[in-house]
């Protein structure tokens, strides 16, 4: 699985559309050029060795670690938003207040677990 595919899956579940993968690769090259070799190495290790990179990214974001991975997630979100098939990932087309509250509560709890897991996973990455 390519790093783009892995990151996309971590955020959106489904498989990555080729147009997104292509754009991601293009931007990633520019992005990575602005980071040190160590950061690029960490990124590679993270996407190759760690299964739950969603958890890892969250912990990295809070702990100010793995900056390239954190950026990569952000970039993927920007690119993915432009695809018609992804609109419902970003936009509520219907008012569902109770469902909204419940899913946010679920999201909050899920993220707490992910964060703790991410802290543990951070320790697995050399140099971090």
């Amino acid at each position: 699985m390519s790093d783009a595919e892995k990151i996309y899956k971590a955020i959106f579940k489904g498989s990555i559309p080729p147009s997104i993968e292509e754009k991601y690769q293009k931007v990633f090259e520019v992005l990575a050029a602005g980071f040190s070799e160590v950061c690029v190495e960490e990124y590679k290790t993270a996407v190759e060795d760690i299964h739950d990179i969603e958890a890892l990214e969250l912990a990295g974001r809070f702990r100010k670690k793995l900056p390239l991975l954190v950026h990569a997630f952000e970039i993927m979100v920007y690119i993915a938003e432009t695809v018609p098939g992804n609109q419902s990932e970003f936009i509520n087309y219907k008012t569902r207040k109770i469902f909204g509250f419940l899913s946010m509560t679920y999201g909050g709890c899920r993220s707490t677990v992910k964060f703790l897991k991410g802290l543990f996973l951070l320790r697995k990455i050399k140099n971090v």
Partner: protein, 531 residues
């Protein structure tokens, strides 16, 4: 030789041009004049378009330039200016006017029409209090406001904010409110007496945005395209006037020229300019020169013409705070895909103790990309999307402006290597103020926390002013007379916001346009020998 050369085609430049044309003078405008790429305009609603079309070219650009702030963290731009079709507004600014910025972020435009290609179109008269220290009165400016209003078209209402914004006749009805804004307004109406006693006033903004057709310009269609598409005809921009004046043969527009300095021989002014196509130097000769290059670049021209690499000039901008606000009962609502994506309401805080009031714009956040908010939520990537879907439709942003004066403004200096040095000072935002603003919004059913309030970087208020202030009796360089003439520089006049000695917490462009026209009126009388 031209009677008049105006440097710049932004709001101040075109307002000055209108003033000359009215008096039968045909001015020459010289301008760098970057233009937007000629791409087919999006005519559909932003969200309808995205449902069926891959919007990467609109939102990210062909060269993925829409990701500017992610790829160039050291040189971020205000979000609206990162949008690919809007980037022409700031294109090339570092090469045309290189800067060294310390605790400051300058946004410069060398576009035809200037910064106002991307502006929020909030237009507010300065009242007596705002003009305190300025040697021109409200009544002297009044007729020019009327003429400018005729040109730009204005919507709004004479509501509770009349006290601060003045009464405006012949306004188009205000734009439709978003559901969030409607809710805030309703709450305000029911708590009005108490809030007014506390010095809080809420009302509809005055906007150079059309709610009804106006000549050939169509009314706002609530397409949410404000961040993405330049030249939306319902939002006034100076290019509308400029194109019309060029077509009617009323101005000579010389684009592609970067003015570098001026010199004088007898009564003739020479504007030394660089042709940006081949870097050759071209001279424009004129009897009178109008500086309308924006407060920073007009100051640069004045310093460069004097070869002055010592003087430090004041540079004002409104310090600002951004408050994200959540309307609890709207959480989980559908996103309002049909909306006006800029200012919905204005709020004025007139605190006790005689200080100048604070003014805020309540903005809808329906126009920017949803991804823009991704990093603002503290959850995992997938869960952040849940919050983006459910929380963003319930959110607005308050951009609260503070007044600025030389003691808390920035400093500007020209170096011998042509770089402008800018040094910002941190504004003392008082925690108590922030708390009382949050308390007010709680009463209106909108919630936030002090830790979520964002300090807008120095310079990102983008209301630059005060570099060549107008004083009643000028007696030193870099000040101008009540008619706008620069001290020690006969024939050189200033028409942009450089002339403001202090900056009230009120977007300054409507005032600047009226004052530019007033200056042009005076200059026309001098040229025609009346004075």
């Amino acid at each position: 030789m031209f009677d008049v050369v105006i440097v710049g085609s932004g709001l101040s430049g075109v307002a000055a041009a209108l003033g000359f044309i009215k008096k039968g003078i045909k001015p020459c405008i010289i301008d760098v004049g970057s233009k937007p790429e000629t791409l087919p305009p999006i005519t559909e609603n932003f969200y309808e378009y995205r449902k069926t079309t891959d919007s990467s070219s609109l939102m990210l650009g062909e060269r993925l330039e829409g990701l500017h702030n992610l790829l160039h963290k050291d040189r971020p731009l205000p979000v609206k200016l990162t949008s690919p079709r809007m980037q022409f507004v700031v294109r090339g600014s570092q090469s045309f006017s290189p800067t060294i910025e310390e605790n400051y972020r300058l946004v410069q435009s060398f576009a035809s029409g200037g910064l106002a290609n991307a502006w929020g179109a909030g237009v507010y008269r300065y009242n007596k209090r705002d003009l305190d220290g300025f040697p021109v009165s409200e009544s002297e400016l009044s007729p020019y406001y009327e003429e400018i209003k005729q040109e730009i078209g204005m919507s709004g209402s004479n509501d509770d904010l009349v006290k601060y914004f003045g009464r405006e006749d012949r306004l188009q009805h205000p734009l439709e409110l978003s559901a969030n804004a409607e809710r805030l307004y309703a709450k305000y109406s029911s708590h009005k007496k108490k809030l007014n006693r506390e010095g809080v006033f809420l009302g509809r903004p005055r906007l150079a945005v059309l709610s009804e057709d106006f000549g050939e310009r169509k009314a706002c269609d609530y397409s949410n395209l404000e961040f993405w598409q330049p030249d939306l005809s319902y939002i006034y921009t100076p290019t509308l006037t400029l194109k019309k004046l060029i077509k009617e043969g009323k101005v000579i527009y010389k684009s592609g020229y970067l003015a570098k300095s001026w010199t004088r021989e007898d009564n003739v002014l020479f504007v030394h300019s660089e042709d940006i196509r081949d870097n050759s130097i071209v001279q424009f000769r004129c009897r009178k020169l109008v500086l309308a290059a924006g407060a920073v670049n007009s100051a640069r021209l004045a310093l460069a013409s004097n070869r002055d690499f010592q003087s430090r000039l004041n540079l004002l901008d409104n310090p600002a705070l951004q408050f994200p606000l959540i309307l609890l009962h709207r959480i989980g609502s559908r996103l309002e895909t049909r909306a006006f994506g800029l200012t919905q309401l204005n709020i004025v805080f007139a605190f006790e103790g005689g200080q100048r009031p604070l003014q805020g714009s309540l903005l809808e956040i329906t126009s920017p990309a949803r991804a823009e908010f991704f990093q603002n939520f503290p959850f995992s990537a997938r869960d952040n999307l849940i919050f983006i879907r459910n929380l963003l439709p319930a959110m607005m942003v308050l951009q609260l402006f503070f007044p600025s004066a030389p003691e808390n403004g920035a400093e500007l200096k020209l170096n011998a290597d042509d770089k402008l040095e800018l040094r910002g000072k941190d504004f003392p935002f008082q925690g108590q103020r922030i708390k009382s603003v949050l308390k007010t919004f709680r009463k209106l059913g909108a919630y936030s926390f002090p830790s979520l309030v964002i300090k807008v970087p120095n310079g990102f208020g983008i209301h630059y002013a005060g570099t060549l202030p107008m004083v009643s009796k000028p007696n030193r360089s870099y000040t101008c007379s009540p008619n706008g003439e620069l001290y020690g520089e006969p024939g050189v006049f200033v028409a942009d916001a450089s002339v403001l000695p202090v900056l009230p917490a009120k977007n300054c462009s409507f005032f600047v346009m009226a004052n530019a026209m007033r200056t042009a009126d005076y200059m026309s009388s001098v040229l025609s020998g009346e004075l």
